[in-house]
């Protein structure tokens, strides 16, 4: 069986300014629109990309516009992999996401109303990984194209 090498579809950088996650979302959506994701799974990927980019801008790069967020989109067989990299280093201070969000505790005032970002990402994509080399912090989002499980949650 012939192994097909991963194909880089796009790479780009964004200034670390609040709101720029919308640019990442739109560009990734445009890049992957014709490679087999259903509308529902494309919406999930868009949400995951936006949340991961928000984390990179805010927690990783401290909202400092001069430090770019790097985004790379790769196709590897039936997988679309989006890598979002900031300079947040080993300890990524996603301070409000240390515990699983619990809506009842939030409604009772026992937990901050915030802290949904990583939770949403995990629930939107097929796989999520985080790597760091000490300075660069990358979140990897994997979404498979096609398949019977495509819209299982819809």
């Amino acid at each position: 069986m012939t192994q097909v090498a991963p194909r880089r579809l796009d790479t780009f950088t964004l200034a670390s300014e609040p709101g720029n996650e919308r640019l990442a979302l739109a560009r990734v959506a445009s890049t992957v629109k014709d490679i087999g994701l259903s509308d529902a799974r494309l919406e999930r990927l868009k949400t995951a990309v936006a949340e991961a980019t928000m984390n990179a801008i805010e927690h990783g790069n401290g909202n400092r516009p001069e430090i770019p967020v790097e985004v790379a989109v790769t196709q590897d067989g039936d997988e679309i992999i989006v890598a979002i990299t900031d300079q947040g280093g080993e300890v990524h201070p996603e301070a409000d996401e240390q515990e699983e969000p619990d809506l009842i505790r939030k409604l009772d005032g026992d937990q901050s109303p915030r802290g949904w970002g990583l939770f949403l990402i995990r629930n939107m994509v097929d796989a999520m990984d985080i790597t760091t080399d000490g300075q660069r912090h990358t979140i990897w989002l994997t979404m498979r194209t096609g398949g019977a499980a495509d819209d299982e949650r819809m």
Partner: protein, 122 residues
């Protein structure tokens, strides 16, 4: 921070309605809080139910979810019911995943929500 979210409020029989448009993210905090305040004070006879209509909303992120949680927490503390209408299938899914839909009844559109609130099924 400028918000790309707008909110209009109106009173219908049986409910105070907040119609949201644009983007529900962290910058929408003041818009949403003000709208809630207007909605419940403008219609005291109807203020036991608040309808959040998302039909014209094209983006909700995690900080927007946090704002909705805050509105729901306040409404519950004030013994008000919150319902939502007009969510896209994707955001309905997010309401399910976050369990917001356990506490906020979801309607396909505002007409259905108002009809159900004004003439509840026996």
């Amino acid at each position: 921070m400028t918000s790309a979210c707008e909110a209009t409020t109106r009173t219908l029989p049986g409910a105070a309605v907040i119609e949201l448009s644009g983007e529900v993210d962290g910058s929408a905090a003041a818009v949403l809080t003000d709208a809630y305040e207007r909605a419940v004070t403008a219609s005291p006879e109807n203020h036991d139910t608040v309808v959040l209509d998302f039909a014209a909303v094209d983006y909700i992120n995690s900080t927007g979810i946090a704002l909705i949680v805050s509105v729901l927490a306040r409404a519950r503390a004030e013994r008000r019911k919150v319902v939502a209408s007009g969510l896209s299938p994707h955001y309905r899914e997010i309401f399910d995943i976050t369990r917001l839909s356990d506490f906020i009844e979801l309607f396909p559109d505002l007409d259905r929500a108002v009809s159900e609130l004004t003439h509840p099924a026996a």
